[in-house]
Amino acid sequence: MQTLNTTALKRPEVLNGDPFLVIDNVSKIYPTPTGPYTVLDGINLTVYEGEFICLIGHSGCGKSTLLDMVSGFRKPSEGEVRLQTKRITEPGPDRMVVFQNYSLLPWLSAFENVYLGIDSVYPNKPKAEKVAIANEHLAMVGLADAANKRPRELSGGMKQRVSIARALALRPKVLVLDEPFGALDPITREELQEELLKIWSDHQVTVLMITHDIDEALFLADRLVMMTNGPAANIGEIMNIPFPRPRNRARIMEDPEYYNLRNQALDFLYRRFAHADE
């Protein structure tokens, strides 16, 4: 990896922090009738508190598997994932997940979807406070007026906003997003990227996000983790994205460094680790 712009341009709080989320020599191996199949092979990644990390890689490279081990849906075959030195063994509200397909409960309103999580995680808070938290987070994503609508009455972008509100209402330490904007149209996607960025800087939450979109990663992330192709995928390169914050999309795109980084990422994905069928 290039060393010209590493630590100097990181955000200051990142510089001084202890490792927050550590993926320590993690492998995932599935037994198959024809012998063990290695999806991920010896992944090491250290994430600092408040960082915004994007993961990119071709489909089948095990990015989702890796995030599933952070969120706790799957267990590593070897190695371990630690959050603040505590080993992750199961899903929990300190690592909230925003799924690509929103995963809202269709029979609950936007408010009820957000409230369900709050009620489950803080059973002892008074009801008025739980209601206030739900409303506050719906307002944060601009959905105060749509609180009583069911998911099917909401657009894709609105559903993903509810999903983000549901996640953040629980004050997670890590926010895990698996291609959250993949199904949205480009304009909605850009809007939500900007909102996510604002929420992230307001909440100081650590974000791990899978994306297929290099521009999205360059706009959002502090570091872009590029994965090699599976089987036995690994981290090929970690790119530091040095643009100062708060970021402005137009200004970033005028920066010559933007195209430099973009070409590096494209080169990685489409030349050095080009997918067989792309």
């Binding site: 929990g92 799924f99 029979w107 009620d119």
Partner: protein, 277 residues
């Protein structure tokens, strides 16, 4: 969009503004009329084994058709009372089957171990014809009425169990993941995810179950006797009152249809809007 689509299709096929009455009521009426005419023609001779429709009407008009609720004592009652008696048995047997079946189905759906243990058993037992249970239940319960109710119960319960199980097993992984990450408690998972997700399947089971109950009660009553539409038919056969059998069959069919639609109606009220296919 779908409304627009279907409307345009309708207008191109059938011409404009055909009233629903003409479209949905006239064709079945025509079909019934044709069947009645054919029936009348086939069984109009003096040697016919079965009565034609006109004969049926003449022989059953007084008192069976005009007074469904006469009561001359014993089993000599109007068809309305006979059907009510049968419906009463179905109500008890089916309600018990619904309660036990849904509870058992949820249990089997939640636990893979219980599923592996019980599903083979269910698959065998559900193929046992309803009436095959009757001798056993008569022997065990010693009374005809509880035996008939047990037959209803054991007939209706299998589709309810099996559909409820499927309904619980098909809860999308996404919702299970949400439950895991939110650490939903058992009761919360049950009320907020399991039940709303499974309720369409539960109602499919209930609908099949009520249909089978009605099939079974007529057969069971033929054997157990007493007041009820099944024994009414059997009694009429033994006394060669064939017209009464035909009239009773019409009533049985109509009541069966009403029961089916009743469950469908309840389902349409209970199943979450978002879950309707």
């Amino acid at each position: 969009m779908t409304v627009l689509g279907s409307r345009s299709k309708k207008s191109s096929k059938l011409g404009k503004a055909m009233p629903a009455v003409t479209k949905y009521v006239v064709p079945p009426l025509v079909a019934i009329a044709v069947i009645l005419v054919i029936w009348q023609l086939i069984f109009s001779g003096p040697d016919a084994n079965l009565p034609g429709p006109i004969t049926v009407l003449q022989e059953t008009w007084d008192p069976l058709i005009i007074d469904p609720f006469f009561d001359y004592g014993g089993t000599n009652k109007g068809l309305g009372l006979q059907i009510l008696a049968s419906l009463g048995r179905v109500a008890i047997g089916f309600s018990l089957a619904a309660i036990v079946g849904i509870a058992l189905g949820i249990l089997v759906g939640i636990s893979p171990f219980v599923y592996r243990a019980l599903d083979p058993l269910f698959q065998v037992l559900r193929t046992v014809p309803p009436l095959a249970w009757l001798p056993l239940s008569l022997a065990a319960l010693q009374q005809s009425d509880p035996s008939a109710i047990f037959v209803i119960f054991i007939t209706a319960i299998w589709p309810i169990i099996i559909n409820t199980t499927v309904g619980v097993q098909q809860i999308p992984q996404d919702y299970r993941n949400v439950a895991k990450v939110l650490r939903l408690s058992g009761p919360k998972f049950f009320w907020k995810i399991l039940l709303p997700s499974a309720v369409p399947y539960i109602f499919t089971g209930l609908r099949i179950g009520i249909g089978l109950s009605w099939l079974a009660i007529v057969a069971a009553e033929m054997l157990t006797g007493g007041v009820g539409i099944g024994f009414f038919i059997w009694d009429a056969y033994n006394s060669s009152r064939l017209s009464e059998i035909i009239l009773a069959l019409v009533y049985v069919g109509i009541v069966g249809l009403i029961l089916d639609r009743l469950v469908a109606f309840v389902a349409s009220k209970v199943v979450p809007e978002e879950q309707k296919g």
